[in-house]
Assembly symmetry: C2
Homo-oligomer: 191 residues x 2
């Protein structure tokens, strides 16, 4: 797909067809993604692929509760009302019942890992769009702290979950319009 | 340009034609970039555009010294030898005499800003490639700490420099081959 078309088609998708995404396809997307530039070519990123719906719901419940608890610890949080709403809706799946969830992870001792994974995730989401899939980065999904669960996910000690990205086929092929963009602020031009 | 072609052509460029990059073109790249997804659609990113060679060399000197000093403060740094080499080569321009340097910046109190800017920077670098330009993220270039200089750059208090990206036309159109990629580690597949 042409890059300009890709920029329009890559929207955050939260409503999916009930159609599985083959793990082989995810691996192709990962192969595209690792062409991303990264600090000192360390390639410190790792991946976890989850297609098991029950396990995803378990991670959703844990992440949801972790989010609610963290908001409670901060009484001034602007997310207070949102968290209160979530508390009463235990059936909510923060991964929107997507057929697949990929975590991009990395070692905590690589100082540039959050930027590196950000770049990689952009590649990942654009590559998925190029293959006709929809994605959404679910920030809340990174809130798993339970060591036993992290071990079950295959995350080594000293690593953390950075980018939880859901993937699937957009319901009825519907791609929502781009959310409003404000004019970017150019702080200064030094010519 | 097709996305797959773009993935091959987007390489880190460190050798440029002596040919200016119009600010209007940079603004077009910024317009592509802000289509990037970002946490809660905050769009907390800002930009600084520099094409003034003298000012760029000043920033290079400051960044270079900041880097050397930070390595000195950490006697176990794996970058010790590299920093020692730099110390003896004061003429080195860490921005590779690129005709343009763009800083993507953001407020320090937005917890997701480093990932957000990582995604945006990927869009920026791909968009530049799509327009026939070469880029390189110069990590060292973010090391400016001098408040007077940051003010001169237009950076507000409470904001920081995140992605320093050089841009220009690759010398003789030469695009280096992709640096080696290792097989990505998939920690676990949960089906």
């Amino acid at each position: 797909m042409d890059f300009i078309e890709l920029l329009e088609k890559r929207r955050s998708i939260r409503n999916f067809e009930d159609k599985p995404v083959p793990v082989a396809l995810i691996k192709e997307i990962i192969q595209d993604s690792i062409k991303a530039p990264n600090a000192s070519n360390k390639q410190a990123w790792n991946f976890i692929i989850i297609t098991n719906a029950e396990f995803m719901k378990k991670l959703s419940d844990i992440s949801r509760q972790g989010f609610i608890d963290s908001v409670k610890r901060n009484p001034d949080s602007p997310l207070k009302e949102y968290a209160k709403g979530l508390e009463n809706r235990k059936e909510v799946n923060c991964f929107f019942d997507a057929p697949c969830l990929v975590y991009i992870t990395g070692p905590t001792n690589v100082s540039t890992i959050r930027e590196d994974v950000g770049i990689l995730a952009a590649y990942f989401m654009l590559s998925a769009t190029n293959k006709g899939l929809g994605t959404c980065w679910i920030g809340m999904g990174g809130g798993v702290r339970d060591k036993a669960v992290l071990k079950e996910m295959g995350l080594p000690e000293g690593h953390h979950l950075i980018a939880p990205i859901i993937i699937g086929y957009a319901k009825d092929g519907k791609i929502p319009p781009m959310r409003d963009r404000k004019e970017p602020t150019i702080l200064k031009i030094i010519e």
